[in-house]
C-alpha cells in the first residue's frame, strides 16, 4: 500500500509543479491583460477599474493563491475573447478530441502491436527488416503532412470522405466516424511506428531468455512460444510506453485538428494563441498537462500491479 501512497504523493507534487511552471510562464508575458482587453485608447479610469476588478494590482503571492484556489474548485479562469469560463469552452470541445484520441489509440494498439510481433518473429530476415524500415519512415513523417496526403487521396482523388468539418455523434454516428477516421489515422501513424519498434525490441530481448530456448527445445513451435510465453512478458514494458503514446496523441491532435478543421480542444488552443486569449491558453495548457500526469499515474499503478517485481525492488 505504501508504494501506491508514495506514487500518489509524487503525482500531486508533479501536478503542483506543472501549475507553478504554467503560472510563472504566463507571469513573464509582456503587456497587461487589462490593457489588451480594453485596447490602447482606453481611459486611465477605465483601466484602473478593470485592473482592480481582475485583481492585477495584488502582489504575486496573493494572485497565485487566488489562482490555485480557483483551480481546486474547477475554475480555470475566464476567456477574454468569449467572456465564458475556460472550463466550459474546453468541455464543449472535449467530445471531438476524446473521440479522436480513442480512435487513434485503438488503431495504435490493433496495428502496432501485431506488426511488432510479426517483425520480431522474422528477426533479421527480410520481413523483419522491411517492417523496421517502414516504421523508421513512419516516425519521420510529420503527422500534419500525412493528414494532408490522406485528404488528397481519400477526399479528393477517391472521394470516399468529404474532408474537413465534423458531424456530432448524436446526429449521425456513421458521419462522425467518417469525419474522424482520417485524422485518427494521421495522429496514429507515428505512434504505430514507435510501438512497432518497442514491441519488436521487447520481444527480441525476451527471446534471449532460457525459458524460450527450453520451450523451443521441448518441441513447441515458434508461433505458440511467441504467443503463449513470450508475449505475456514482452508486453509489460510496453505498458510504460503508453504514457508517451498518450502525450503523442494529445500533441498530435492539437496539430491535426487544424489540418482537418475539427472543432476540438486543439483547434481551440491554436485559436486562443493566435487571438492572444491568454487566460484561455493558460487554462488549456494546464488542462492538457494535468490529463497527461493523471494518465501516467494510472499507467504507473497498472505497471506495478501487473509486475510484482517492481514493487519488491522499490521497497528494497
Amino acid at each position: 500500500m505504501f508504494v501506491y501512497l508514495k506514487k500518489l504523493f509524487a503525482m500531486f507534487l508533479t501536478v503542483l509543479l506543472v501549475l507553478l511552471i504554467t503560472f510563472v510562464t504566463f507571469e513573464i508575458i509582456p503587456g497587461n491583460p487589462a490593457l489588451s482587453r480594453l485596447g490602447v485608447d482606453a481611459q486611465e479610469s477605465q483601466y484602473e477599474a478593470l485592473a482592480a476588478e481582475l485583481g492585477l494590482n495584488d502582489p504575486l503571492e496573493i494572485r497565485l493563491s487566488r489562482w490555485l484556489k480557483g483551480l481546486f474548485t474547477g475554475d480555470l479562469g475566464i476567456s477574454m475573447r468569449y467572456s465564458v469560463p475556460v472550463s466550459e469552452l474546453i468541455l464543449d470541445r472535449l467530445p471531438v478530441t476524446i473521440s479522436l484520441a480513442v480512435m487513434a489509440l485503438v488503431l495504435i494498439v490493433l496495428i502496432g502491436i501485431p506488426l511488432g510481433i510479426v517483425s520480431a518473429k522474422y528477426g533479421e530476415r527480410l520481413p523483419g527488416i522491411l517492417i523496421t524500415l517502414i516504421s523508421q519512415i513512419g516516425m519521420a513523417i510529420p503527422s500534419f503532412w500525412s493528414g494532408i496526403i490522406l485528404i488528397y487521396i481519400f477526399g479528393i482523388v477517391l472521394r470516399w470522405v468529404s474532408p474537413g468539418g465534423f458531424v456530432p455523434w448524436s446526429q449521425d454516428a456513421y458521419g462522425a466516424f467518417k469525419s474522424l477516421i482520417l485524422p485518427a489515422v494521421a495522429i496514429a501513424l507515428p505512434s504505430i511506428a514507435s510501438i512497432i519498434r518497442y514491441t519488436r525490441n521487447s520481444i527480441m530481448d525476451q527471446m534471449k531468455n532460457d525459458y524460450v530456448q527450453l520451450a523451443l527445445s521441448k518441441g513447441l513451435n515458434l508461433n505458440s512460444v511467441l504467443l503463449r510465453h513470450v508475449l505475456k512478458n514482452a508486453l509489460i514494458p510496453i505498458i510504460t510506453v503508453l504514457g508517451m503514446i498518450a502525450a503523442n496523441i494529445l500533441g498530435g491532435s492539437i496539430v491535426i485538428e487544424q489540418v482537418f478543421t475539427l472543432p476540438g480542444v486543439g483547434r481551440l488552443l491554436i485559436n486562443a494563441i493566435t487571438t492572444r486569449d491568454l487566460p484561455l491558453v493558460q487554462g488549456m495548457v494546464l488542462y492538457i498537462a494535468f490529463i497527461i500526469v493523471v494518465i501516467n499515474f494510472f499507467i504507473d499503478i497498472i505497471y506495478t500491479v501487473i509486475d510484482p517485481r517492481i514493487r519488491l525492488v522499490q521497497r528494497g
Partner: protein, 267 residues
C-alpha cells in the same frame, strides 16, 4: 560492409545530400525565391521546374532549397541550446545528488508532462512568434531529455574508481564533472542530440504550419505546407515536395542516432 554500420551510413548519406543542397542554396538557386511570375502558376514538375511551381509561379525546388537553410539553422541552434542547458542541469543533478537532484528531477519530470509541442506552443504564445522565439521554444522543449540522459550517466560514473581517485587528489568538482566524467558519458548525449535535431525539424515544421513559427518572407517547409494545402486540387506536387524533404531530413538524423547507438552497443 559491416551490417551494424548500415544505419549510420544511411543517416550520413541522407544528411550529407541535404546539407549539400543547403550549402548550394546559400550561393545559388535555380530561380528567384521571391519573384512572382503570374504566367507560370501551378506548373507541374518538368525539366524547367523540377518540382513544379506554386500559386505565385515561384519555383518549388528553389523554395525547398532556401527552406533547408531554416530547417538546419533551427535544428542546430535549438539542439545547441537544449543540449548545453540540459547537460548542465543533468550533470549538476547527477553529480551532486541529494536534495538538489530531487528538486531538479521533479521539475524535469513535470516538464515532461507537457506534450513537447504544447510546451513549445506555450512559450510561443507568451513570447510571440518568429524565428528567434521558435528556436528558443524548441530548445527549451528539448532540455528535459538531455538532462535525464546526462544525469543517468553521471549517477553511474560518480561511483567509479577514477572519479573517487580524482576526488581524493583534490581535483575540483567542476573539473571532475566536465573534464573527467563528461567525455565518458558523451555518446548517449550525442545520440540524443541527433534524435533531438530530428525532433526540432519536426517541431519547427509543425509550428510554422500552424502559423506560429517562422514568419514569411523567411522560407520554411512547414509554412509551405500550410500554403499548399489550400491549392491541393490544382497543385498536389506543391503539397508533396516539402513533406518529402522534412521526412528525409528527420529520417537522416534518426538513422544517424540509431547508427551511433549501434556502434556503442557493439563495443
Amino acid at each position: 560492409m559491416n551490417k551494424s554500420r548500415i544505419n549510420l551510413w544511411i543517416g550520413i548519406v541522407l544528411i550529407s545530400v541535404l546539407m549539400l543542397m543547403m550549402v548550394v542554396s546559400l550561393f545559388y538557386t535555380p530561380f528567384s525565391v521571391t519573384e512572382i511570375n503570374r504566367l507560370e502558376r501551378f506548373e507541374p514538375p518538368s525539366a524547367r521546374h523540377l518540382l513544379g511551381t506554386d500559386n505565385f509561379g515561384r519555383d518549388v525546388l528553389s523554395r525547398i532549397m532556401k527552406g533547408s537553410q531554416t530547417a538546419f539553422f533551427v535544428g542546430l541552434v535549438a539542439v545547441s541550446i537544449g543540449s548545453i542547458l540540459g547537460v548542465l542541469i543533468g550533470a549538476i543533478s547527477g553529480y551532486f545528488g541529494g536534495i538538489v537532484d530531487e528538486i531538479i528531477m521533479r521539475i524535469v519530470d513535470s516538464m515532461m508532462a507537457f506534450p513537447s509541442i504544447l510546451l513549445a506552443l506555450m512559450f510561443v504564445s507568451v513570447f510571440g512568434v518568429g524565428l528567434r522565439n521558435t528556436i528558443i521554444a524548441i530548445g527549451i522543449m528539448s532540455i528535459p531529455s538531455f538532462a535525464r540522459i546526462t544525469r543517468s550517466g553521471f549517477v553511474q560514473h560518480k561511483e567509479l574508481d577514477y572519479v573517487k581517485n580524482a576526488k581524493i587528489k583534490g581535483v575540483s568538482n567542476l573539473r571532475i564533472m566536465f573534464r573527467h566524467i563528461l567525455p565518458n558519458v558523451l555518446s548517449p548525449i550525442v545520440v540524443a542530440a541527433s534524435m533531438g535535431f530530428a525532433n526540432a525539424v519536426l517541431a519547427e515544421a509543425a509550428l510554422s504550419y500552424l502559423g506560429l513559427g517562422i514568419q514569411p518572407p523567411n522560407p520554411s517547409w512547414g509554412k509551405m505546407l500550410s500554403e499548399s494545402q489550400v491549392f491541393i486540387t490544382v497543385g498536389p506536387w506543391y503539397a508533396i515536395a516539402p513533406g518529402v524533404f522534412i521526412t528525409l531530413l528527420v529520417l537522416g538524423f534518426n538513422f544517424l542516432g540509431d547508427g551511433i547507438r549501434d556502434i556503442r552497443e557493439k563495443r
